[in-house]
């Protein structure tokens, strides 16, 4: 089990202890984390599971693949730390991962 942290735009922090080998989006949806919508169910097509990864984690995450890169063009307020949480598969190396939830998703 590992622990991941979602920080809402208003500053509130939500810590979740989870198993690995599932995606960060799955953890957020199953725990009802507000602000992560994931309309397409993890198919990397809706860009509504967007999050900002804490800058200390950017380099430690699996790299952005072509599908994610294509969809990151369409997120709300993209930053250099933007990722789609459906493309972040959790492993034990990602224990204590911390992400910020954007103030909105692109069509919400």
């Amino acid at each position: 089990m590992i622990t991941v942290q979602f920080q809402k735009a208003d500053g509130e922090k939500i810590e979740i202890t989870t198993s690995t080998q599932i995606t960060l989006m799955r953890v957020a949806i199953d725990s009802g984390v507000p602000g992560i919508i994931a309309e397409c169910g993890g198919n990397c097509i809706c860009a509504t599971c967007h999050c900002y990864v804490d800058s200390s984690w950017v380099e430690r995450l699996p790299p952005i693949g072509p599908e994610e890169a294509a969809m990151l063009d369409f997120v709300w307020e993209r930053r250099s730390t933007s990722r789609l949480s459906c493309q972040i598969k959790l492993t034990s190396e990602l224990d204590q991962l911390s992400v910020l939830i954007p103030s909105r998703q692109n069509n919400s």
């Binding site: 309309e39 097509i45 800058s55 369409f74 307020e77 993209r78 730390t81 910020l100 692109n106 069509n107």
Partner: protein
């Protein structure tokens, strides 16, 4: 906690994540669009609106097809009402004649022909059964790939062809044929392919998108099974793949394996379809289709039956999508309406992404 930089992001102009632009002229001009089936263009001029432009198509005495603006620069009469004289086209109003390059070659009432008296002539490319037209910047032709040939690879295939005029934006057709999860709902009574309720595998490049789906031990629509002699109700393996090659053209392939063929009968079959769209305006589309079977000797009766089933099934899409188009067009909110993207929209979203890329390139 986030010391990140805000990148210059593309903000959606409306509430579609990736807009399909269906209420506007959302068609790239610098590419080959289908103008007609080869057999349609004869020495009787044909009027056809293509990408908002009224065009006249005809075949001159030399046998080459010609495309000109369908508007005489003298008094705006439609040249398509005129007649072909040799390689030229004569205006029905005052008899002015225009050559294949659009230059006026005869004014019946005067000897001097003004240099200004000319109509635009559009490059055509005639390949096999299709005439393609270039309506964009002529300097971009060379770097643009040739349009695809029809998919029937050789004369051992049997092809049927058809045409529809659609009352909706062409991108809706592009989205419709790249995502077959509407089959169980729109076509339950025709294609009856009710197993199409899964997200296919999707691959894409900057210019094309493709889906793949396998349906082992499944039924095959009689629309395709009939001409190929596969009995209704027979279980077969279906492998389906489809691709948008350009915003004008998609194809689909149905690759069938019969694991228990009747004695002496073949076990492997293939059916291919082409879906070619040419915008008339943002609200109307020419839809040229063909279906090819990898065999010869299909009876005319079976082919006609197949043609009418396909026509009937496409009509189901045509009616629904025209209503969909109206639904958006008549709503003052237009595309500024929250649109949800499901997992099965993957190929369709890449259609839009590719289209945006084409349009952005052209606006530069």
């Amino acid at each position: 906690m986030n010391t990140s930089v805000i990148l210059p992001a593309k903000k959606p102009a409306d509430r579609q994540i990736i807009s399909n632009g269906m209420l506007e002229a959302n068609y790239p001009r610098n590419m080959w669009w289908m103008a007609a089936w080869t057999h349609e263009i004869t020495d009787k001029p044909t009027a056809r609106t293509l990408l908002d432009r009224a065009i006249v198509l005809y075949r001159g005495a030399s046998g080459s097809a010609v495309a000109l603006d369908d508007r005489c620069p003298h008094r705006s009469a439609p040249l398509s009402e005129g007649r072909v004289c040799g390689d030229a086209l004569a205006c029905p109003y005052h008899g002015l004649k225009f050559g294949p390059d659009g230059t006026c070659i005869e004014v019946p009432t005067q000897k001097d022909i003004p240099k200004t008296l000319r109509v635009a002539s559009y490059p055509l490319m005639e390949r096999k059964d299709i005439i393609w037209i270039w309506l964009g910047d002529k300097s971009a032709i060379e770097q643009t790939p040739h349009p695809p040939d029809e998919l029937a690879p050789d004369s051992t295939w049997t092809t049927i062809r058809g045409y529809f005029r659609l009352d909706f934006n062409y991108v809706l057709l592009r989205e419709n044929v790249i995502d077959l999860t509407h089959l169980p709902f729109v076509h339950s009574a025709t294609f009856g392919q009710t197993d199409w309720i899964k997200v296919p595998e999707v691959e894409f490049t900057d210019t094309s998108v493709r889906y793949k789906a396998e349906f082992p031990n499944s039924n095959l629509t009689p629309v395709f099974g009939g001409p190929m002699g596969i009995l209704p109700g027979k279980r077969v393996d279906r492998f389906q793949v489809g691709e948008m090659i350009t915003p004008a053209v998609s194809y689909s392939r149905w690759i069938i394996k019969d694991r228990s063929p009747e004695p002496g009968e073949r076990s492997d079959f293939e059916m291919r379809a082409m879906h070619i769209a040419t915008p008339i305006s943002p609200n109307e589309t020419h839809y040229f289709w063909s279906a090819s079977y990898d065999m010869l000797g299909i009876s005319n009766e079976l082919l006609e039956e197949s043609r009418s089933s396909i026509t009937f099934a496409f009509q189901e899409d045509a009616i629904l999508l025209a209503k969909l188009h109206k639904n958006v067009k008549n709503d003052p909110r237009g595309l500024d309406y929250p649109e949800v993207n499901l997992g099965a929209d993957k190929a369709g979203i890449h259609v839009r992404r590719i289209l945006q890329r084409y349009l952005q390139q052209e606006s530069q």
